[in-house]
Amino acid sequence: MIGTLTHAAPYVGYVYPNETDIAWSVLIVIYPYITGLVAGAFIVSSLYHVFGMAQFRPVARFALLTAVSFMFFVPVPLLFHLGNPQRAFNAVLTPHWTSAMAAFSYVAGFYICLLLLEIWFAFRADIVALSKTTSGLLGIVYRVLTLGSDDVSPRSLAIDHKFAFMLAMIGIPAAGGLHGYVGFLFGSVKAREWWSSDLMPIIFLLSAIVSGVGLLIVLYVAYSKFRKVQVDDDCMKGLARTMWAFLLVVLVSEGLELLEMFYKGLEGIDMVQRLIQGKIWFGMLIQWGGSISVLAILTALIVFKTKGKSLVTWMTVSGLVMMIAVLAMRWNVVIGGQELSKTMKGLLTYYPEVFGHEGLLVVAFIFTCPFIVLWLATRLLSPWEPEGPTRPKTRQPEPRWPWTISPRVSKPPRNPPKTSRNPRSPRSRA
């Protein structure tokens, strides 16, 4: 290809000449994808934290760490995509409020702060305990993380719970807002037939939750294998039901959207049909085939009350397939929308670069980072309860809070009061 552009998109039919330079690359595919994983993971932790669903206790704190690890990397693909990333703060300092995108930094910033605060409250008792038992550099880190508060008296912990509950409550609409916002970003673009839909925010939000639950399942199983502990059956069953419910609504919404589109048959519908059958047929196959298969598997698991190893295996498969299906959905929306020309008389083909700053390698790198951060985070603050296989039998009667001090951590505070009884002088570490 002659000229300055080396990756011009080939096309069929008639497309506007500037459209051959596809604006949003594969980076913008993983941006809503990563955001979605955050929303999904957070919702699972909220099911336990706010709604008191005890079966999610084993993954509740882990879900928070997952959410924050991925949240850190939500802005990264955007920054890589910007033509002038050094000016990114223009949108923060002088936001143009009629733009949905202007809200991004505020929504994302708020959400990161909220997640960090919630994690701090959830892990505070652990952090205090670790700050007292760990020495060296890591000990300093833990002591800094206590933020000077090492009071783990029941009264203090009760206050923690109150705050954490409040944060989790705020977190649900914030998670919804964060991903609903991403859906709005696409759904409000009236110039693009494939995006412009009132259902887009809802579909994005629900598919986000499904993908996040999928991620959580995969990670929980992987961590359990790695830690050589048994996967909690109740937790898996709960995750299966959650995924099943959200997935069902996603499929119905997406199905209705397509049905309405074709039933109305507005001008250009033939091109939409060609897009689905041609350019994104494989993506649609993965998205729909994957989703329907997972729905079938989950239905079977719930109906047959599957337990134990086979439940874990099938749930892992479901989680993985769901993650891939939602990734395909993001591709179909972001790339498919741009492959359908604004003329409605032509189709473009997007070929992602492999190298280059918007290439697949960069995408792979960005997507790997959250996993590394999560691994480091779990090394720093273990979200797991101490006893794996025996734990379900010895579970506390009413575990309403994830941040209820786990046995390992709760013991030290119970013993030390023998030496310092006075709860008003907690600074007794020396």
Binding site: I2, G3, T4, Y14, P17, L82, G83, N84, N90, F104
Partner: protein, 284 residues
């Protein structure tokens, strides 16, 4: 001298300039060489000597007193593509077949067919005919075909009254001036390309060198000096009309008064300010 006199004098000078340039551009077209830049330079020399009274300077330009609009008479367009080349030269648009601030579409209905064949100067066959991505022409592919109806449609930024691109810009780098032109502040644009997505007309293009979005400005640097946009200036057949709607005798006011005009994609609610005469329902 009254304002009216100034206006008449300016129109006269505009006409003489345009006549000269028309001859010049037809000459260059027949020579088949890309000399838009040269012709524009020549034009400037001519206007310097022929212009009386001198065009208004920027310090005196008051954007509250103008309301610019653009007219396209598709029945006149001959598809010579001088406008495309002049635009690229005037505005430093990337010299390739994927970045245009203005372009010309060719609609051809063949006998016995319901749908038109549509192409544009960036079509690979047309590029092959012109020999490079720096000069543009339509190839002769319908030479042996039975053409029932055919016409050209010049396209450019519509400088909408309710621009979707301005609405979605997260920083406000793209904005609407008081005189109705949509511009981009290149020093403030972050290059997110949300505006590229939002424009229903596909007129926004990405400047890979600066990492910012670009688009037609109706040659704002020229019109604020009393000159015409480059594409209007070089059009040999007056298919492109430009002027101030606040002036009832301006070319655009006359164009709008004397024609039944339509706009592209009115259903978007963007309220474009490029008005068309002689387009077909297939034009979008």
């Amino acid at each position: 001298m009254t304002n009216q006199d100034t206006k008449v004098g300016k129109e006269a000078s505009d006409l003489s300039r345009r006549n000269f340039l028309r001859i010049l551009s037809i000459g260059t077209a027949s020579a088949g060489a890309m000399v838009s830049a040269g012709s524009l330079m020549a034009k400037e020399q001519v206007t310097e000597s022929a212009a009386e009274p001198p065009p208004p300077k920027i310090p005196n330009y008051d954007w509250n007193k103008h309301k610019w609009a653009f007219g396209v008479d598709a029945t006149r367009c001959i598809g010579c593509l001088r406008c495309v080349e002049a635009c690229k030269a005037e505005n430093g648009v990337a010299q390739d077949a994927h970045h245009f601030r203005t372009w010309v579409e060719r609609y051809v209905y063949l006998e016995g067919e319901d749908k038109p064949h549509i192409d544009c100067q960036n079509d690979p066959q047309n590029i092959a005919a012109s020999g490079s991505e720096r000069e543009f022409r339509f190839d002769n592919r319908y030479k042996d075909a039975k053409v029932e109806k055919a016409f050209f449609v010049p396209k450019l930024c519509n400088h909408c009254t309710h621009p979707a691109c301005v609405q979605v810009c997260p920083t406000g780098a793209t904005y609407q001036t008081k005189d109705g032109v949509v511009l981009i502040d290149h020093s403030y644009c972050i290059g997110c390309q949300y505006c590229v997505q939002a424009c229903p007309y596909g007129v926004r293009e990405y400047n890979h060198v600066l990492g910012v979005t670009d688009k037609c400005t109706w040659c704002y640097h020229r019109i604020t000096k009393g000159l015409l946009p480059a594409c209007v200036e070089v059009c040999p057949v007056e298919a492109r009309v430009f002027g101030d709607r606040n002036d009832p005798q301006s070319p655009i006011s006359l164009f709008l008064r004397n024609n039944r005009v339509e706009v592209l994609k009115p259903e978007t609610g963007n309220a474009p300010n490029v008005f068309y005469v002689g387009i077909d329902r297939e034009v979008s």
